[in-house]
Amino acid sequence: MNRALNDNHDLHPILKVENLVKQYSRRNLASEREGVLALAGISFAIMPRTTVAVIGESGSGKSTLGLCVASLESPTSGRIWFEGKDVGELSQNERRQLRSQIQLIFQDPANSLNPRWNSLELLIEPLVLQRKINRDEMKRHAHSLLEQVGLPPEILERSPMEMSGGQRQRLAIARALALDPKLVILDEALSALDCSVQAQIANLLMELQINLGISYLFITHDLAMAAHLASEILVLDRGMLVEQGTTEKILRQPHDETTRRLLQSTPRMIRPAHPVWER
């Protein structure tokens, strides 16, 4: 068994999703409304202190799933429970609190962080919005957040544009941690980084999980990194959950055609006996 599961004394899932459906509507060329089914009845759960990975190709609905879980999109039908509470039945005030508990980190922090602000402003904005603490405390808090993600204090005066890709993603993580979230959704958060930086950030994420007890929903097209970080994997294909199971099961006994195809096309450092193009 892995470390994260051993530490897990709490047997109630932090997040439970049941039969989640998301339908977008658009107008076709004849101006008629037509429905696009982005998620077709997804059910899964995330236990505290664990990582669940969502893999699938472009258009499989994995980002929509992340947005629905973060309550940034409202599902067409289906229910989501966070810490045992039905998210659909929360009051406005409770929903506001929920937002601080679930945080999102995107692929390219160069686009998701305001380039006109420096790191200090970026880090204290969530605190100001949630009206948590006074300004002096905020500054102290910003310093400790930086330390947690391994950034030097002089970063506080710099804008995201003056940082490297790895530093920016560390800053995005620090900002996500500002409100002590219980669940962090990582939407392709490692995909734009260089290999050596990916490894550093992956290590940081695992360290934070152990120290702070966070759960991750790790959305990616990189099966190798998903298998490295997650104990459970969900495979999406055109809005449908085609396979779900422990990482070991997905890697060793894949049942679905999509899972097999993803496994076969994941590049490996070992020269394949039969490259895809020779099959």
Binding site: N2, R3, A4, E57, S58, S164, G165, G166, Q167, D194, C195, S196, V197, Q198, A199, Q200, A202, N203, M206, H221, D222, L223, A224, M225, A227, H228, L229, S231, T247, E248, L251, R261, L262, L263, Q264, S265, T266, P267, R268, M269, I270, R271, P272, P275, V276, W277
Partner: protein, 324 residues
């Protein structure tokens, strides 16, 4: 086998504010053989895109080629005038960019974008242009060629758009194709299809290819030889199988270890810490080896001067004092 392209001691620097030149490539030398795929592997700041741009002299105005030569078909491209360059660019050496969305004209049909290229290079008689475009699309798209030819870029998937760029690249029968991160924005299954297509074209058209990437795992089983760039210098160069299976430069070794091998590992080793390289790449090049500040095996000599590319065996060399 004769090299089709020979790069000798190439150095490029960028002028920045304050007039301090920022070196991007320093003394890069290699040969590209006929019919081979040379994988160029490097992370941000390694100079890999500068290399692609220098080979076709498409550098930004603030870039300066300080020394070196690029020998192609008996000429030094760095000494060629713009008329001579026009005959090489897109015709003898073609470049495929990373973002097909940006590289394609948004309101021109895919077939027309290839036709324009043939027209510009005068390589086909006017009357048979359409037939030629059709044949090129048939080579690249095994099905649906006719429909794709008449589609606009926004009607195509990411993989199909990438294939249109490849159709442009092979249109004038070049002898060299440079692909700069051309699969970086694609799904893994589509990436594998594109790599397969490159393999097929290499054999069918006897192409030589420079395949630039930041992902070492793409090169296994695909590239013939691999060149590792770090800080604008060649860190390692050798046959792909040898470099990927037993890398010699400390940077290459550390980089490969940082790639998760989860698919080939058992349950115990997953979720362990990945061995990562300490620190970050810094663009201020030191006097000595540029990897020295991050290297776990650094010696006294490393900070003094830069190590030369040294043979570790017949075809495999590394720029590290361990082998000098």
């Amino acid at each position: 086998m004769a090299p089709v392209l020979e790069v000798q001691d190439l150095s490029v620097s960028y002028r920045r504010a304050g007039d301090i030149p920022q070196p991007a490539l320093a003394g890069v030398s290699f040969e590209l053989m006929q019919g081979e795929i040379l994988g160029v592997l490097g992370e941000s700041g390694s100079g890999k895109s500068t290399l692609a741009m220098t080979l076709l002299r498409l550098l930004a105005p603030n870039a300066n080629v300080t020394k070196g030569a690029v020998l192609f078909e008996g000429k030094d491209l760095l000494q060629s005038n713009s008329e001579e360059l026009r005959k090489v660019r897109g015709r003898r050496i073609a470049l495929i960019f990373q973002e097909p969305v940006l590289a394609l004209h948004p309101t021109m049909r895919a077939g027309e974008q290839v036709r324009q290229l043939l027209l510009a290079h005068n390589s086909v008689p006017q009357l048979s242009l359409n037939e030629e475009v059709r044949q090129i699309f048939d080579k690249i798209f095994l099905q649906d060629a006719e429909r794709i030819l008449r589609s606009y870029p926004h009607q195509l998937s990411g993989g199909q758009r990438q294939r249109v760029l490849i159709a442009q690249a092979i249109a004038c029968n070049p002898s060299v194709i440079i692909a700069d991160e051309s699969t970086a924005s694609l799904d893994p299954t589509i990436t594998m299809e594109i790599l397969g297509l490159f393999q097929r074209l290499k054999t069918q058209l006897n192409l030589a290819m420079i395949f630039i990437t930041h992902n070492p795992a793409l090169l296994a089983g695909f590239a013939d030889r691999v060149m590792i760039l770090y800080g604008g210098r060649v860190a390692e160069l050798g046959p792909a199988d040898a470099v990927l299976a037993s890398p010699r430069h400390p940077y290459t070794q550390a980089l490969f270890q940082a790639v998760p091998q989860s698919l080939d590992e058992d349950e115990q080793t997953r979720m362990e810490k990945l061995p990562s390289i300490a620190g970050e790449y810094s663009s201020s090049l030191p006097e000595g080896c540029c990897f020295e500040p991050r290297c776990a095996e650094r010696m006294a000599v490393c900070s003094g001067h830069a190590p030369a590319l040294t043979k570790v065996n017949q075809a495999h060399s590394a720029a590290c004092f361990k082998y000098e």
